[in-house]
């Protein structure tokens, strides 16, 4: 092969230079990574989830390590959508696509955050964090009830003209059904998966290790579960799926592409290796070159499954 592989990716109407994004809540507002990488070398990033008003988050302890993973209960500490638009966005270099993650305790609050992001420079898409506890449903996640998820997707669809992704909760029986619901309500893509609800107990104190009790499990520990769910989603819908869950290396990311993800997000790996996303993007290019793959999109969904 003489020419470099084409890594450009169209993700639900967003044109990316490569299929590697970074996951919300693991990449701050982007500028924190400027010492370690040129942000233009990744496809883009999903910013920390935004609420209408700033949130302080949970008291410590907020994180605990688990085998090949970690549990967190940050409770979506964030600067609020106003400060994001006024203070954070201007600091992000030109040419770096930003997907804004939105979040609320009621459907109307999600929609209002979307409206506030309308026309914001550098914001190329919206990702709806459906793992938030829904106050009116007694605290279960928006993404755990297909009817609630449908209402949420419909409301944010009306509130924004930007490409719209719904980030699914894995804490469900049938994630494919949830993906179909979002597609039916006009989402441009699916992001999967969010963290798995989990628990660690300190046997000395006989209390949960996190102040919040339960937390969200992330990291390589969840990757095979995430891959299975992404594969199920990709088979269920025609809109693109962005694969997330424990991706640390290019090999990890390529598994997701082969199973039908049009793009991936690197999450927890950013904490232990602030250059992880760039290395994943470069590694995908090397894999394509080594295997004579001209376009990275040629890898998407080509996994050969016995009996299917």
């Amino acid at each position: 092969m003489t020419t470099a592989p084409d890594l450009s990716t169209n993700l639900g109407g967003i044109q990316l230079r490569n299929p590697v994004l970074t996951a919300s809540g693991t990449f701050g507002y982007g500028t924190e990574f400027a010492p370690f990488m040129d942000l233009r070398r990744i496809g883009g990033f999903v910013a920390k989830s935004l609420t209408l008003e700033p949130r302080h988050g949970n008291p410590p302890p907020r994180i605990v390590e688990t085998p090949a993973g970690m549990l967190n209960a940050i409770s979506l500490e964030n600067v609020g959508v106003h400060a994001f638009v006024e203070e954070k966005l201007p600091e992000i270099p030109e040419g770096v696509p930003v997907i804004a993650s939105v979040f609320g305790t009621e459907i109307e609050l999600y929609a209002e955050v979307c409206r506030r992001l309308d026309g914001a420079p550098k914001v190329v898409g919206i990702e709806v964090n459906a793992s938030c506890p829904h106050v009116k449903s007694g605290g279960s996640e928006f993404g755990q009830d297909p009817a609630v998820l449908a209402r949420l997707t419909r409301a944010v669809r009306r509130a924004t003209s930007l490409p719209l992704f719904v980030k699914l909760s894995p804490n469900v029986t049938d994630i494919a059904e949830m993906a179909r619901v979002c597609e039916g309500e006009g989402a441009d893509g699916i992001a999967a998966i969010n963290t798995l609800k989990a628990l660690v107990v300190d046997v000395e104190t006989r209390r949960p290790s996190l102040s919040n009790g339960l937390g969200g499990l992330s990291g390589p520990a969840i990757r095979p579960v995430a891959l299975r769910m992404v594969w199920q989603c990709a088979r269920a819908v025609g809109i693109p799926v962005c694969g997330i869950g424990g991706i640390c290396t290019a090999e990890d990311a390529i598994q997701f592409l082969l199973c039908g993800a049009a793009a991936v997000q690197v999450g927890t790996a950013n904490f232990l290796n602030p250059m992880a996303a760039v290395e994943v993007a470069e590694g995908i290019g090397e894999y394509c070159a080594r295997h004579g793959v001209e376009r990275v999109s040629d890898l998407v969904g080509v996994v050969e499954f016995p009996g299917l």
Binding site: E32, F36, G57, E65, M70, I74, G219, T268, N270
Partner: protein, 270 residues
């Protein structure tokens, strides 16, 4: 502040120093920024060179004991205690191995004014955060260093501090080195001698809480350097939050690890 690096550093030496104490010296070939006393780094305990290891997953925050530049390269020294799986793996690193780190990180101790009287209070692994401050201040300020440990064998870096031109005092729980008792009792005694002083403390939370009480009662300024669980070290995981004295949280990694004691809500510290 200079930009931190992510780098695979070469182990120059890694040796036990009695008790659970170990000293790791790493060579960074180029680009290590000027280090401020009190800054830290994140060390991946299990990764060696290109061989990844995801269990344990997270890097460990460690104080930079000392960073010495020779030509373009820098020797970075870390004192640690083998207490769990991560530090046990770190103790397995041999000279020539490559250990991944990110640093230098955080906001360190402010420089003392010429002629100022400093009282440095260190306990446990917190001792490591204070050495560079003591070394750089010893010529220009009047420095007392008060070190505490359970036993003589647990005390970290004693010989290093002895080599400095400082007033060194030691307290151990069992009296096997220095005074029998708590290092904060040495602090009370030192403050009782009167006069203005600035106190810098690093150690277990109960020790720093007591140092904050003692200095608060005496009307003296007190800076503390906090240790905390953290996943990243540069302000994105939000795991190292500690409650502010007003409302909301500081991040130990980004806003600290050094804080004015009055800026923290001591009841809520983990």
């Amino acid at each position: 502040m200079d930009r931190p690096l992510r780098v695979d550093s070469e182990v120059i030496s890694n040796a036990a120093e009695g008790g659970a104490n170990w000293r790791l010296v790493l060579r960074i070939a180029e680009g290590w920024p000027e280090t401020q006393p009190g800054q830290f780094l994140m060390l991946s305990p299990g990764r060696r060179g290109r061989v990844e290891r995801y269990d344990p997953l997270l890097p460990r925050p460690m104080a930079i004991f000392r960073a010495r530049r020779t030509g373009g390269e820098t020797a970075v020294e870390v004192l640690y205690k083998v207490v769990g799986r991560g530090t046990s793996l770190l103790a397995d690193a041999r000279p020539g191995d490559e250990v991944r780190l990110v640093g230098p990180l955080g906001r360190g101790f402010p420089e003392p004014s010429p002629g100022e009287r400093l009282i440095l209070v260190g306990g446990g692994t917190g001792v490591a955060s204070l050495f560079e401050l003591a070394r750089r201040s010893s010529g220009r300020a009047r420095v007392s260093v008060l070190l505490g440990a359970r036993t003589a064998a647990d005390l970290m870096g004693r010989a290093d501090f002895e080599s400095l031109d400082v007033d060194l005092q030691v307290a151990t729980d069992d009296g096997s080195d220095g005074t029998e008792g708590l290092v904060t009792e040495l602090l009370e005694r030192e403050i009782a001698r009167g006069g203005a002083a600035r106190v810098y403390a690093c150690g277990p939370t109960p020790m720093m809480r007591r140092a904050a009480e003692i200095t608060g009662a005496a009307g003296l300024p007190c800076l503390v350097s906090l240790e905390n669980r953290m996943a990243c070290g540069f302000g994105v995981c939000l795991g190292c939050a500690v409650p502010r004295s007003d409302e909301g949280y500081h991040l130990v990694c980004r806003d600290g690890p050094v804080f004015e004691s009055g800026d923290l809500s001591w009841e809520g510290l983990p």
